[in-house]
Every structure is written in C-alpha cells, then in structure tokens.
C-alpha cells in the first residue's frame, strides 16, 4: 500500500487537472482563475490550486498547456494492480471471497467488471480504489496492491451518498477536504455541475428536490471536483429508471477523458460498447473471461447466461430458449373467457390534500398482466396505494361479490389484493423465512398443515433450503420472491407490484417473471409498475399509461412504450 502510494505520487499528483475532457479544459488552473482571485492575493495562490500542496507553483508558471506535464493516458503503466489477493468478510465461517486473484488495470483504460451477485466485484472495486482496507476494514492480504493516487467514487444508492443538504455544499465538501481556497469554490462548483450536464439556475439547489438520476449526476460532479485520476463506479444506475440511466452514462462519458474508469454494473446497455475491457468473474471470485467487450459478449455468452448477467441480445436468446412461453407472445392468449376481478371508475388517490392520480373506467380480468408505465413522479405508485386504500381515495372501486362498505380499509382490501413494495424488507416482519410464510396463513390452520403449507410455498417460490435464514440475509431476488409469496398466501387473485425487477440481475429478473407468469396462468391478475420496455413487450398482456396523474388504457397493443 505504502509503496504503491509512493510509486504513483510523483507522476500523478502534478498533472491531474489537465487530463479530463471538458473539466481539463476548464480547469487550466491558475491562469483562468487569477483574475477571479485578484492580483492582491497572488502569493497565497501557490497552494490554492488544489492539485497538491507539496509542489508550490507561482502564478507566472501557469502558462501554456503545452508546457504542462503530459496527461496520464500517455503514460504506460498500471493505474491499479493487485497480486495474489485473498480476502474474506468478517465472520467465523465465511468463505474466502478471493483466493489469490491477480489483476492489473492499465492507466486510462475503461474497464467493466461483471459477475453474478455476491461474487465480490463491488468489494474488489473498493480494494482497487484503496477504500478497503483503509476506510472499510475487511481482512485482506495481497503480495502487491497498487492503487490510484486520487481515486473518485460513485456509489449505488443516490440517497446515501450525500452529507450536505444542497448541491453546491456537497461539492464544496469535497473541495474543503482537498483544501481548496474558498474564493475558488463557486467557480469550481459551477464548472463541475456544468461538466455533468446539471444545468441549475442556482447551484444552491436542494438535493432532496432532485430526481434519482440528478442525484447520481451530482455524485459524479462531486467526484470530478476532487480531480481524480481514476473513476470507480459501483452500480451507479442500479436504482435508476431508464431516463436516469441514460443521463448518468452521458455525464460520465463527458467527464471521463483520459482517466482510468472502472465500473461494476449489471445494467450494461448504454455503456458496454464504450468500454475497452470487460472482465467476467465467476461465483467464486475468479476471473472467467477478460477481453474487449465485443470478444467477451461473442465468445462467452453461455457463461454470462449461466451467471445471470445481462448482455446485449439477452432477451433474444431468452425468447429462443424460454421454458415458459409468456402470454404476451403466446398465440393462445385472449382465448380465456374474461372473469372480472376489479373494476375502477374515476378512482382518485389523494396525497397532501390534492388528487395525485385519477383513473378512467378500467377493468381488470383474471389472466390479465397489466404493465403500469409512465415517467417518474407521474403517480404510478400512488395508483397502487389508492387501489389498496392505503391513502385517501375518491371514486369507485368495485370487486365482484363484495359489498362496497367492506372495501374501505387497507385490511379489507388486503383480503382480495396483494401489494409488493419496491423495498421488500419493509414487508418482512419475522426472524426466518419459514415464520414469514406461516405468519400470514389463516389462523384457523393447525400445526402439521401449517408448516407443510409453508414448505410448499417455499418450493413454489424457489426458496427451498432457506427456511431457517433470516429474511434480511437473502439476496435481493429472494427477498422479492418471499415478499410476493407472503403477500399471496391468503389466496388473493389480484397482485400489485411496484417495480418487481428493480435492482435484480438477469437471472433474478427471469425467475421473477416466470413466477408471475405461473400465477397469471393460474387465474390471477397482475398489475406491475415497470420501466423496462423489454418486460412490457414480452410479458404484459395490457398496458396502462399514467401521464400527469391520469391513468388510461394504452390501446394498440403493448409493442412499444
């Protein structure tokens, strides 16, 4: 570690500000800022450039770009390297996460790390950036561990990356840590925001008022503010919708310049083709494939499919091999005699004293798989909450054979409809998977049947062997399936899902969809919020579009969004 720092310090510290695309051009450090600071302060500018205080420069030194040190992309040599890495999570019987992994990433290379969930690629990213073991203490050993001098990170969760309430303050936090002079901060802040395409009239913009995509772009801006030589991104788009994902990738492309970039991500559409190198890890943390994206996606498809990783053309392959033929594409769909399960007419969901969403006359029949689509904030989740009567509603909601008076409370609705939230953890209330399933079974059910019912459910939802686990110890896909299983225990025939495939890898997504298809063909109706056009096209039989708070059937099939 120490040796690595020393090796890299000399060559990196001095030229970091010159290597970025737009940023580099804008931050030609001293010449551009000298007028802003004022000539009276010139002596103090020697350590105000933020590029390291150990090498004082005078203002008159800051002249033509040609005289500045060459950007790192032209240097050969590694940006990060580990040799014979061994690492395990703290705990008694945890297996080794890496057993002698060796990996070198060249300076300026754009690398994508892929692997099944739980293979340790996020941890490896933290090792490569020096966050493990310096900041996050995980026991590790390596013969050689070389990390970039100035790594910059973007993490997965947009809501937990910020410690300040306003955008400018957040970037200023990074600048303060680097010891940048206060006079320089406003100019740098607006430059960073511009570079990632966040056009705020006033940089003093509340983070809480931003969309998730904007927050991730702010995280990129804060990373760029530190003038890093390597950008490390840990699933930066996993919790974003399509639009946010596009924004993040375009921001990243516009700032990465000649810097080293290492990305861990499973939603790779929109970024894979820009990478120089793709590395695929196996479930045991070993490298299974390593090469250009074209090579890896052509030669190692089988591997990627086996590991449940998205790759270009995944759905085409799925269509060829699928065990279950989704209703949307099956020729026989629509033959079933329609049995009405739910009827809405002018149902309004209220929030904050105002109607937030309103439906037209809509009917849901058994065997329907309805995709609820629309932009962020249109009111899709509010619609599901309104149907469940979890918020104030007006207008009519009708379920055949049930008097309207006994559909007023969430507890009443829960007898007929099940809702699975986006974060399944909120729905899980016991200490083990088995208890979780037994919890919702009818109270009249007595013992041997009770646990045998729970066991059958575990088999049906591909959770066998996990009965004793704490629900929080499951993978995301398993938690989701468990939350659907517990929601449907009471024999409900109407299932509402808020983005059931959010944050899942390919195999998790396919499993969830096939599970839902089994429910649908068994006579249930499914209402599913999703942003994924591939899912809508493949699995949904109908589509509701929520636009500006109005819910309407989208006619003309489900072919496109």
């Amino acid at each position: 570690m120490k040796a690595a720092d020393i090796i890299l310090k000399g060559c990196i510290r001095s030229h970091t500000p010159t290597n970025g695309g737009e940023i580099g051009a804008a931050s030609t450090p001293l010449a551009a800022l000298a007028p802003a600071i004022g000539s009276g302060r010139l002596p103090s500018m020697t350590n105000a450039s933020g590029t390291g205080t150990e090498r004082p420069r005078h203002a008159d030194e800051a002249v033509p770009a040609a005289k500045r040190p060459t950007p790192p992309v032209q240097h050969a040599g590694p940006a990060a390297r580990v040799e014979n890495l061994r690492l395990r999570y703290p705990g008694e019987d945890t297996p080794l996460l890496f057993k002698g992994l060796s990996l070198t990433i060249e300076r300026g290379q754009k690398v994508l790390l892929l692997g099944p969930s739980g293979c340790g690629k996020s941890t490896l990213l933290q090792v490569l950036g020096g966050l493990v073991p310096a900041a996050i203490r995980i026991p590790m050993k390596a013969d050689c561990c070389l990390v970039p001098a100035r790594p910059g990170y973007v993490f997965q969760d947009p809501d937990s990356q910020f410690c300040m309430p306003y955008a400018d303050e957040e970037i200023a936090f990074a600048l303060e840590n680097a010891g940048i002079a206060r006079e320089e901060m406003p100019a740098r802040i607006s430059r960073c925001l511009e570079a990632v395409g966040l056009c705020l009239a006033d940089p003093h913009f509340p983070v809480a008022g931003m969309s998730q995509g904007m927050k991730q772009r702010l995280a990129i801006a804060a990373m760029i503010a530190m003038e890093p030589d390597a950008l490390l991104l840990d699933e930066p788009t996993a919790l974003l919708d399509e639009e946010g994902t596009r924004q993040v990738w375009s921001s990243l492309r516009s700032v990465w310049g000649g810097r080293t970039v290492i990305i861990v991500e499973h939603k790779i559409a929109g970024i894979a083709e820009d990478m120089d190198r793709v590395i695929v890890f196996g479930p045991d943390g070993s490298i299974q494939a390593d090469g250009s994206p074209r090579l890896v996606f052509r030669e190692h498809r089988e591997l990627l499919r086996e590991y449940g990783i998205w790759y270009p053309g995944f759905w085409e392959d799925y269509d060829r091999n699928a065990a279950i033929r989704p209703a949307a594409t099956a020729p026989s769909s629509g033959v079933r005699s329609a049995e009405l399960l739910l009827e809405l007419d002018g149902l309004e969901g209220w929030r904050g004293g105002r109607p937030k969403v309103r439906t037209g006359p809509l009917a849901v029949n058994a065997g329907d798989w309805i995709a609820v689509t629309g932009v962020n904030g249109a009111g899709k989740s509010t619609l599901l909450l309104a149907i469940m009567k979890l918020i104030k509603t007006k207008g009519s909601l009708y379920i055949p054979g049930i008097p309207v008076q006994s559909l007023k409370k969430p507890g009443d609705m829960a007898k007929h409809a099940a809702l699975s939230f986006q974060n399944p953890e909120f729905q899980l209330v016991t200490d083990s998977v088995l208890d979780e399933l037994a919890y919702s079974l009818p109270r009249s059910l007595r013992e041997p049947e009770r646990s045998s019912r729970a066991r059958t459910l575990m088999e049906n939802y591909a959770l066998d062997g996990l009965g004793g686990r704490h629900p929080y110890q499951l993978s995301m896909g398993q938690k989701r399936r468990l939350s659907v299983a517990t929601a449907m225990v009471g024999g409900q025939r109407l299932l509402l899902l808020d983005e059931p495939t959010f944050g899942l890898d390919a195999s998790g997504t396919v499993r969830m969809m096939e599970q839902l298809e089994r429910l649908r063909s068994g006579g249930c109706a499914i209402l599913m919020i999703t942003h994924d056009p591939e899912l809508v096209r493949r699995f949904a039989t109908r589509q509701w579009l929520v636009d500006g708070g109005l819910v309407a059937e989208r006619s003309g099939g489900t072919a496109c969004i």
């Binding site: 790594p151 990170y153 809501d159 400018d168 303050e169 936090f173 990074a174 809702l419 953890e425 909120f426």
Partner: protein, 262 residues
C-alpha cells in the same frame, strides 16, 4: 419529504450562529434566576418580539408558536391548581387555588413561554449547516462530529418516508399470531428502520471517506466562513437592552401584587 420552508433572510440570520446559540443558552439559564413574575412577564414578551424578525410569514410563525399556548397552560395550570399556599381563593375537591400558587403557576408558565420563544427564534433563523460551520470555526469543534451531525440530519426526512412506507406495509400484512402488545409493535417498526438506517449510515460514511474526508488530520478550508461583524454587536446589545428594560420596568412598576414567588 421537505423539511425546509421558504423564508426571507433577515439580520437575525446573519448573526454569528455560535453567538446566537450561546446567547440563547444564557437566556435559558438566566430565566431560572428570575423570581419576580412582573419581570418574567416582560421577559416573555421581549422573547416573543424577535419572532417577528425571523423572516417567516407572520401566519406561519403563529402556527409554529401555537403549541406555546399549550406549554403555557399546561405548566401554569398544574402549579396553580395543586400548589401550596396560605391565602385560599378557591377550593373544590382536590383543586385548591391560593394566591401564592396562582402567582407561582403564572410565573412558571411565563418561564416556559420565554424558553420556547427563545428556542424557536433560534431555530427559525439558523440553518444547521451554518451552526456547525460556525462551531467548527469559532469553537474548534472537530470536523468529524460536525459533519456526522449534518449527515445524520440529512437522513431524518428519509427516515420519515421509510416510516410511512413501513406503516403501509404493516397495515396490509395485518397483525399475525404472537405479535401483540406495545413491545411487539415497537419491534416491528424499530427493526426494519434500524436496519435501513445502519446500512445507510455505513454507505454514507464510505461515501464521505471516498471524498477524502479525513477526521482530525490536515487543515480544511471552508465554503462558508463565519466571523464577527457589527450585526453580532447589534444583536448582543439589543438582547441585553431588552432584558435590562424588562428588569427595570418589572421591578419599579410592578403590575402584579406578587414580586417574589419563592
């Protein structure tokens, strides 16, 4: 979920936050040594005065101040009705109002009012960010504590959102067997919320470290710099003047018969 409300910046916002905090704390303590209800009444009135200069719309200030009435009544009534005293005014069962207990209760209510008003004026004119920056600069508060507090404050609205989602989720799942009583319910809420918060705190800490936040070592610069200005002097002088005025008027021109409630 937003916890900030738009308002105008006034001169009270520009007072050094550390000074404002110190003065407010001083006022809380000083109020404990006032025993003349005449002075206390004027002090309470004087403490309500700065609320008009907070830059928030008067109606909203009134809304924020509405619990004060409750504070006043609850703290005063207990003492008035059940306190001891020699000069009996009224008696009904357990309730026994005497002259002494009446003035003592009134005094207590006025004191609560004063403390509440000072606290509200401070809260309405001080952003947490400003307070912690000022504490780091004026009182050398270690940056690791200051930024930890700020990061924690950022999580409060998220925690509130999560609480509402959790409540909805539990409403749907209903109460199963063996999950009854306050303990069971507390557990159902506390466990998931704690689990989420701990994980979020870990992630935030990692993100802060990744921005090269090093606790202790190295010098930091500050985006906001707080120092001293004439406004601070104006603030200190006007608060002192208000107190002096209240004390003089209260002692020399008493409106109430009682001058010492001890």
């Amino acid at each position: 979920m937003h916890l900030t409300f738009s308002h105008r910046e006034t001169w009270l916002h520009r007072v050094n936050p550390t000074l404002k905090l110190a003065v407010s704390v001083l006022l809380f303590v000083a109020a404990l040594f006032v025993h003349n209800p005449n002075v206390m009444a004027l002090l309470a009135a004087a403490s309500l005065l700065p609320l008009l200069a907070t830059g928030h719309p008067p109606l909203r200030v009134l809304l924020y101040a509405s619990p004060f009435l409750l504070v006043f009544i609850s703290s005063a009534s207990g003492m008035i009705m059940f306190g001891t005293g020699a000069t009996l005014w009224f008696e009904l069962g357990l309730i026994r109002i005497t002259e002494e207990s009446f003035y003592r209760g009134l005094h207590l209510g006025l004191r609560s009012l004063q403390v509440a008003a000072v606290g509200l004026a401070f809260a309405l004119t001080t952003r947490p960010v400003a307070l912690f920056y000022s504490l780091m600069q004026q009182l050398r508060m270690p940056s690791k504590y200051a930024y930890s507090f700020l990061a924690a404050l950022n999580m409060v609205p998220l925690l509130a959102d999560e609480f509402f989602t959790l409540r909805q989720a539990l409403q749907i799942r209903g109460a199963g067997p063996g999950r009854k009583g306050i303990y069971g319910r507390l557990r159902m809420y506390a466990l998931p919320l704690l689990a989420q918060s701990i994980r979020r705190a870990q992630r935030t800490a990692a993100a802060m470290e990744a921005r090269r936040f090093r606790s202790g070592s190295g010098k930091r610069t500050y985006y906001y710099v707080y120092g001293w200005s004439r406004i601070d002097a104006l603030y200190a002088v006007s608060i002192a003047a208000l107190w002096l005025l209240a004390w003089l008027l209260g002692t020399h021109y008493p409106l109430l018969a009682a001058t010492d409630v001890r």
